[in-house]
Amino acid sequence: MRKKSGIAVVLVLFFAFSIATIFFFMAHSNTNLAYQNKQTLYQMQAYYLAHSGMQHAKLKIRLLPKELYEFFKAGGSGNPLDDVDSTIHIQLAMGAFKTQQEAYDLFEEGKAPDEGFPYAGNYRVESIELTGSHKSMKMIQDGYRVVVKSESDNGYNKKSTDEMTEEMIVSRFTGGI
């Protein structure tokens, strides 16, 4: 019977251990939620840059459909959309992340200059290939497969990338997609 003395302390220690375990997992869960929110934002930023790149690519394809076809017809093997690259245009170049970008604020005067960005990033057309031409139709149409890559950069360990592939049929003479 003597062995049962002190059972309350053992029970409380067990209880305390259980609470501490729950405490740990709850803290861990909250940390995960914060991480997931940040990752969602970075991925979203890369996603919109990829869409920006795809729209830029479509713009060039719409404006220069005949020239693009002639590039492939003449045996061009490179990337005729290599100028659809945000890093080579001053107005689109977001550059690399700088700590000053953390002060960017649309609600405060002078903290959102026209040439400034709240974070860094880039997009580019990785590749374009001619998938086919339809000559039997009334309008001559060409099929292309375009691959765009993008990256968002909010600082060290705060980067995200995205890739988008789209197939499109373009009217060679009107540029209609």
């Binding site: 019977m1 003597r2 049962k4 003395s5 002190g6 309350a8 302390v9 029970l11 409380v12 220690l13 209880f15 305390a16 609470i19 501490a20 405490f23 709850m26 803290a27 909250n30 939620l33 914060a34 929110n37 934002l41 979203m44 930023q45 919109y48 840059l49 869409h51 920006s52 729209q55 830029h56 479509k58 713009l59 060039k60 719409r62 404006l63 220069l64 020239e67 693009l68 002639e70 590039f71 003449a74 045996g75 061009g76 005729p80 100028d83 245009h89 001053i90 107005q91 689109l92 977001m94 960017y104 604020d105 649309l106 609600f107 959102a112 026209d114 960005f117 709240p118 974070y119 997609i177």
Partner: protein, 210 residues
């Protein structure tokens, strides 16, 4: 028998010790739970802000007509071609995107700025800045190149490819910056909170309508 019963009971010292240990454990747990509720609200507001920024950027990148988006901080929305459907779209979608305060004195013109209050009473300010990346606004404007095999590179300027738009510019791309700012204190305008948080999204919209 009486002796046996006494020996199996819990002593006063044991009870005191047990309460002491329990108190030491429970106190930080209660502190954590209080903090956890605040943290959960912080994540909740952040999630609302991110989804609102996404809603606005999706609407501008994929739904709002190119000609309806005017440059500025905040940007403006108006139908410049007199299309009834676009007017209706703007008058319905812009207040949904930005909330209160996006109206102007002209009922057909809206601005990209407003205040939204969520069900729990947190306030979110959304603002959009749009910059025209037109032919004349930069010393090195966007241009297109094409190099056919064996031939020199051809350069195409925007003004060689399209006429001026309804704003009188040779323009094919707009830079869109979305900011959603919020306070973690209920019913407080984020502009009045020195510890307000913000999320940003950036996109470049091309004119694919012309």
């Amino acid at each position: 028998m009486t002796k046996l019963l006494r020996k199996t009971g819990i002593t006063f010292v044991e009870v005191c010790l047990a309460f002491l240990i329990l108190g030491l454990v429970v106190l930080p747990v209660f502190q954590f739970l209080t903090g956890s509720v605040k943290e959960t609200e912080r994540f909740y507001t952040e999630t609302i802000a991110i989804s609102r920024a996404k809603f606005i950027m999706d609407s501008l990148m994929f739904q709002m007509p190119w000609q309806a988006i005017g440059a500025g901080n905040p940007c403006s929305f108006e139908d410049r071609k007199g299309v009834a459907g676009i007017k209706q779209f703007i008058s319905r979608s812009v207040p949904q995107m930005f909330g209160e305060g996006c109206e102007t004195s002209d009922p057909e013109v809206f601005k990209g700025d407003g205040l939204y209050t969520c069900r729990k009473g947190f306030k979110f300010r959304a603002r959009v800045k749009v910059v025209d990346l037109d032919q004349d606004s930069s010393g090195a404007p966007i241009q297109f190149t094409m190099q056919l095999p064996g031939k020199p590179t051809q350069y195409f300027k925007i003004k060689d490819l399209v006429p001026k738009d309804s704003y009188g510019k040779f323009n094919l791309m707009k830079k869109i910056v979305v900011q959603v700012k919020w306070s973690n204190i209920k019913n407080l305008d984020p502009n009045e909170d020195t510890r307000a948080n913000s999320v940003f999204l950036v996109g470049f919209k091309s004119d694919l309508e012309g």
